[in-house]
Every structure is written in structure tokens, then in C-alpha cells.
């Protein structure tokens, strides 16, 4: 059962990613990316990270990608002209990508991985993540809040009408 779900999710994640970067219509591209993100959320559930999975859907699919969709619609980019790449370039990029992938993949999975560790109780639960966030990772957590604030201020500064 889990294997089956995993295979399907892997396939949709990969298809979603490839279609997201290759599709000419940006709106459809965003939707494929959402498919990819949701499939990854399924993986996170399988990997005992339900909290991250929920965040993936709420934050990534629900907020970030909606923002993308917003901008694309606002600018009406569905017919954004893009230089069509030639066949040679396509072939070269596929070959280049293939080589890059094989190198990366070989380095990442070439040898026998050490055995998996036993999972502690409540692994990946909201409570355990929350405790870590508010104790060990308190400083990064606060940093993140400043980061989000500054991103918000920056976005307003760049897009608001008028000068000072």
C-alpha cells in the first residue's frame, strides 16, 4: 500500500516538476508545480513528517503558489513570448542535464547507506517540532520572523505607487 502510494507520488512529483519548468503557459506551469508540491507532501507523510506535510500544503501550495498565480494573472503573462530554443540546444541541454543528474545521483546514492535508525516516540509530531523550535532553534525561529518582516517591507517598497 505505502509502496504503491510512494511510486504514484514519485511519478506525479517528477512529472509535475518537469512540466512546471517546460510548459509554455505559466498558469499551467504553476498548477503542475502545485501538483509536484502536493505529491511531495504525500512523501513527507510517508516519511513520518506530518507537520511538514501540512505546512507544505498550507504554505507552499496555499500561499506561495497562489502568489505566483496572482502575479501571472495580474500581468496577464499567458502569452509571454519566449525565444524558442533550437533542436540542437534542446538535445544538448538534455544531455547536459543527464550528465549532471548522473553525477549527482552517483554521489548521493552510490554506496551502501548506513542502516536506518530507530524512530523515537512522537517522531515528527507537532509537539516535538514545537518543542525543538522554541528551545534549541529559538534563535533561527526569531530570525525567520525578522526575515519575513523584511521581505514584506521590501515587497511593499518595491511595488507601492509614488516615491518617498
Amino acid at each position: 500500500m505505502e509502496t504503491l502510494v510512494g511510486i504514484v507520488a514519485a511519478a506525479t512529483a517528477l512529472i509535475g516538476a518537469i512540466a512546471a519548468v517546460t510548459h509554455r503557459n505559466a498558469v499551467v506551469g504553476v498548477l503542475f508545480l502545485v501538483l509536484n508540491l502536493v505529491s511531495l507532501a504525500v512523501f513527507y507523510v510517508l516519511l513520518s513528517a506530518p507537520f511538514i506535510a501540512a505546512l507544505q500544503v498550507i504554505l507552499y501550495a496555499g500561499a506561495i503558489m497562489v502568489l505566483f498565480l496572482f502575479i501571472i494573472m495580474l500581468l496577464d503573462l499567458r502569452r509571454e513570448e519566449e525565444r524558442e530554443s533550437g533542436l540542437l540546444q534542446k538535445v544538448l541541454s538534455v544531455i547536459g542535464g543527464g550528465v549532471f543528474f548522473l553525477l549527482l545521483w552517483g554521489a548521493a546514492t552510490g554506496g551502501a547507506a548506513p542502516a536506518a535508525a530507530e524512530l523515537p516516540e512522537h517522531f515528527g509530531s507537532v509537539e516535538s517540532i514545537a518543542v525543538a523550535l522554541f528551545t534549541t532553534y529559538l534563535i533561527p525561529f526569531e530570525t525567520i520572523s525578522v526575515l519575513l518582516l523584511v521581505a514584506m517591507v521590501g515587497a511593499v517598497l518595491l511595488t507601492r505607487k509614488g516615491g518617498r
Partner: protein, 344 residues
């Protein structure tokens, strides 16, 4: 997962869907009846006794009507958008505990489809996915009214999700869990209902829920006078009805959540012993209690719709960002103090 568990889940899904969809059908009737009552007229009364068969007639009409797809619509997305909306709306029902537990011949059944560790987050996730249905419906129709409606709706839902989320945190702080069954159990007695300790949180949740469901007074996305019908202008027949169904399902979810989070869920307002029943009878009584609470909030939804005028768009955004958000933070501080001093 054992076979029994799978079967149990499937049966629960079936029951919940049946109840929810029937409720949707009769909510449309209730809406029209109540609006008739508020506006001092009779409302539908021709099909069946007191118009009781009206939803059925409406359903048949929706199915028989001609389907129109605008020629410049983006077809696949145009087709998928209403389904996406309805699916996400229905999925959110999965986490709501509508009762404690039934025992059927020694086999214990928990009365919630999925009582998961991240319960509330699942609801938020589904409601944020629902935004796609609306945005995409508006965009794929290739109609400027639909597009504006879609953008408005999504901007509105995103803005109000903040207030919604922050008002939920107050509840979570008191219960210490995201699991809905635990939140209900923690409100065991009438005096421990969350609404007493955080009335402000409840109000924010309710207002945000109204905005989330795109209902009046926050139905700017489909404001007839400005945008024809908003994101579903171009939809007809069964797809149009799916938008309607999604709206009502969302109303049911929101009402059920209000009952669950702030009004003790399926808990009776008096000690269970006082009811004089136990076992499955008690469970049924609790389900009834849950249905009454949910029904009451559904009534409030309809009542408000026919009473209040519509907001202007900038007023809506103003309310969300400059009123509800600070108030939600205030509520959070209040609950924080309460939890720290052990009041709740």
C-alpha cells in the same frame, strides 16, 4: 491497516457524505425559506408539501440544463476548477468529530473519519487549496468579470486566513493539541467551553469564516451588481451547481468547526449522567447535540446573509488587516496570560 479499519473508514466516509450532501440540498431550501420569512414572504412552496421537494427539482434542473463552455476558455482548467473546489471543501469534513464513539457488537467506532494529529492544520490546508478552484475558475473563463471576481475572492480568502489561523491558536494554546477530538474532550463541562474563555477569538473566527466562505456580507467575489456573478459568471448547469455545493459544504464545515472549537463539539451542555442514558444512547444523544449546534450556526449564516448589506472591497480589506488581525493578536495575548496564570 486491517480490513475492518478500511471498511469502517469507508462506511464513515459514505455516511458523512450522504448527510453533508443532503444537508446541502436542504440548506438551499432553508436559505430560501428563511429569506422569505425575513423578507415577509412565503418562499418556495409549490414542489411537494411546504416546498420540501424543491431541492430535488433544482437538482434535476441543474443536470438537464445545457452546458456552455466559452470558446476562448482554457478548457482543462475550466473543467477542473469546480471539481477542485468541491473536493477540497468535502475533504475538510474528514477531520470533524461528530460524536464520541459507538460500540457495534463490541467493535468500537470512533465518530470521525480521520482523527489525525494535525487536525486543524488539515482544515487550513484544504481551505487554502480551495482558493485555487476560485482563482482558476475566474482565470480560465477568459472573462474580465470572472477574472476580477477570482482575484478578489482569493485575495479575500488569503487575508482572512490570517485572522482565522490566529484565532485558532488561542484554542490550541488551551488544549495543547491540534487533534480535534482532544480539543473537544478538553471542553468536557459547560463552563469549560472555549467560547467563555475567549469570546473575542470566537467572534474573529466567525467573521473570518464568513469571509472564507465568500458569504454575504463578504461576497464581493460574486457581487452581482458589480461583477455579474464573479468567478462563476461563465459556468452553467452541473458545474455551476458544484460551486453552490462547495459554498454550502464550506458553510457546514465552518459551522461544525465553530461548534467543535468553541462550543464543546459533541459534548452535552450538562453532565452526561444527568441525561440518564449511557452507551450507544448517549453517543446518539451527543451526535444530536453536535447536529443542533452546527445547525444553529448554519442558521446564523443564513440569517446574517439576509440581514447585513455588502461591504465595499477596500472596507473588507481594512477590516481584515487593520481590525481583525490586531484583535486576533490581542486575543492571543489574553489567552497567553490566561494559560500562564492557569485560568483556563
Amino acid at each position: 491497516m486491517t480490513f475492518a479499519a478500511v471498511l469502517e473508514t469507508l462506511i464513515k466516509i459514505g455516511v458523512v457524505f450522504f448527510v453533508a450532501l443532503t444537508a446541502v440540498a436542504y440548506l438551499t431550501l432553508a436559505e430560501r425559506k428563511i429569506s422569505g420569512w425575513i423578507q415577509d414572504r412565503i418562499g418556495p412552496n409549490r414542489v411537494g408539501p411546504w416546498g420540501l421537494l424543491q431541492p430535488l427539482a433544482d437538482g434535476i434542473k441543474f443536470m438537464m440544463k445545457e452546458e456552455v463552455v466559452p470558446s476562448y476558455a482554457h478548457r482543462p482548467i475550466y473543467m477542473a476548477a469546480p471539481a477542485l473546489l468541491l473536493i477540497s471543501a468535502l475533504s475538510a469534513l474528514a477531520i470533524i468529530p461528530f460524536g464520541d464513539r459507538l460500540s457495534l457488537g463490541g467493535y468500537e467506532v470512533r465518530l470521525a473519519i480521520a482523527d489525525v494529529n494535525i487536525g486543524i492544520l488539515f482544515f487550513l490546508a484544504m481551505s487554502s487549496v480551495g482558493v485555487y478552484g476560485i482563482v482558476l475558475a475566474g482565470w480560465s473563463s477568459n472573462n474580465k468579470y470572472a477574472m476580477l471576481g477570482g482575484l478578489r475572492a482569493s485575495a479575500q480568502m488569503i487575508s482572512y486566513e490570517l485572522g482565522l489561523g490566529l484565532s485558532l491558536i488561542g484554542v490550541l494554546m488551551v488544549s495543547g493539541s491540534l487533534r480535534l477530538s482532544q480539543i473537544v474532550e478538553q471542553q468536557g463541562s459547560f463552563s469549560s467551553w472555549n467560547v467563555w474563555s475567549q469570546p473575542l477569538g470566537f467572534l474573529i473566527f466567525m467573521v473570518s469564516a464568513f469571509a472564507e466562505t465568500n458569504r454575504l456580507p463578504f461576497d464581493l467575489a460574486e457581487a452581482e451588481t458589480e461583477l455579474v456573478a464573479g468567478y462563476h459568471t461563465e459556468y452553467s448547469a452541473i458545474k455551476f451547481s458544484m460551486f453552490y455545493m462547495a459554498e454550502y459544504v464550506n458553510m457546514i464545515t465552518a459551522s461544525a468547526l465553530m461548534a467543535t472549537l468553541f462550543f464543546g463539539g459533541w459534548q452535552l451542555p450538562f453532565p452526561a449522567e444527568a441525561a440518564g442514558v449511557e452507551g450507544n444512547h448517549l453517543a446518539l444523544l451527543q451526535i444530536l447535540c453536535f447536529l443542533i449546534k452546527t445547525g444553529f450556526f448554519l442558521f446564523v449564516f443564513i440569517w446574517v446573509r439576509w440581514t447585513l448589506p455588502r461591504f465595499r472591497y477596500d472596507q473588507l480589506m481594512h477590516l481584515g488587516w487593520k481590525v481583525l488581525l490586531p484583535l486576533a493578536l490581542l486575543n492571543l495575548i489574553w489567552v497567553g496570560i490566561g494559560v500562564a496564570w492557569g485560568w483556563f
